[in-house]
Amino acid sequence: MTDRIAALGRRGLDIIASLGRSGRFLAGVLAGIPRPVSGFPLLVQQLYSVGVLSLPIVLVSGLFIGMVLALQGYTILSDFGSEAAIGQMIALTLVRELGPVVTALLFAGRAGSALTAEIGLMKATEQLSSMEMMGVDPLRRVIAPRLWAGFIAMPVLAVIFTVVGIWGGMLVGVEWLGVFDGAYWGNMQSAVNFVDDVLNGVIKSVVFGFVCAWIAVYQGYDCVPTSAGISSATTKTVVYSSLAVLGLDFALTAVMFGDF
């Protein structure tokens, strides 16, 4: 019995210690930023592997989510004879919620897991410690470009996702189901406010990008340097990122749109 209580206590202490380490790690990475000239090529390289290579999955998912929204929305709204409101419905759901959230989930699966595995393998093969031996700060050289790349790429991906989704919705709603073109865009424009909806969506995706990238690089940096350790760190990245995104999404939505 006491063993179990002790195990529980150890678990709790581990979690708190890990939180503390991740905070200190983040502070270390952010403190290592100011080298815009020599760090820039590294950042571009990471933007390519984190952002550009995530583009295909984001484009395809956005297109299909927009199309499904149009199809479902049309079925429901045509019962009330107001199919014309479909543009408004698609745009608001995508801009406020689905754009940032689904992109963040895809990002965690596609880019976050890759970041964790890469850094974890670097740690397991002792590349990070050999860098330190050579007097190169691995936080600045390896971690910081990856963190910033995730931070920058995520909002860009989310905005592209939203636009493709709206276009996919138009494809199904207007071209296939025959909603009037002018009503689709007109209702959308009168319902969507640039500051309240679009900018708040972008702010959400900035927060998610930061959280996802942080979790991914921290899990890689902190993993147990064995193959089993890397695999469990990769799993943790996806699980923690998804949970953090969904939880933060509720909190952000309550703050941004909850003023009833």
């Binding site: 933007l47 550009v52 107001s82 860009v156 592209i160 640039f194």
Partner: protein, 149 residues
């Protein structure tokens, strides 16, 4: 892949992101660079403004000619005072025109339709519409019908 190619692809990626933001601003939220400029204000008092809200549409003959700026309560007459921003090139609205609150579709938003009068003189900036017609209130209509008035 060479370093140069990667830089170009990342540049294109950022441009795509900017283009997407621009699309969201102009096409999705209807933010036009010139909105706000070149407009003048007219007022209309309604007994019941219904669900009229700022940023709503003002139309003539179905064509949008302006937006609703604000809906406030006049404390003396207890009427709703609505200020309308009308495009500056529509400067010949006859002075006896009426502002009517209508609903687009069954569940749509409410907007103000200006039904054109026949006066030779036209409304000047800052003028108030002489005649208005309030929002159709379904509950009041049913109430009137049930009580036989």
């Amino acid at each position: 892949m060479g370093n140069r190619t990667i830089e170009i692809v990342v540049g294109l990626f950022m441009i795509a992101g900017l283009a997407a933001v621009l699309f969201l601003a102009l096409q999705v939220s209807g933010l036009s660079p010139q909105s706000g400029g070149d407009r003048y204000t007219l007022y209309a008092n309604f007994n019941d403004s219904g669900g009229l809200s700022p940023r709503g549409r003002v139309s003539m003959a179905g064509v949008t000619v302006g937006t609703i700026e604000s809906v406030t309560l006049d404390k003396k007459t207890f009427q709703a005072r609505v200020s309308l921003a009308i495009d500056a090139d529509i400067d010949n609205i006859p002075a006896d025109s009426a502002a009517v609150i209508r609903t687009s579709g069954l569940l749509g938003d409410q907007y103000i339709d200006i039904s054109v009068g026949g006066d030779m003189e036209s409304l000047q900036p800052g003028d108030t519409f002489y005649s208005t017609q309030s929002a159709m209130n379904l509950e009041r209509l049913i109430g009137n019908f049930a009580s036989g008035r």
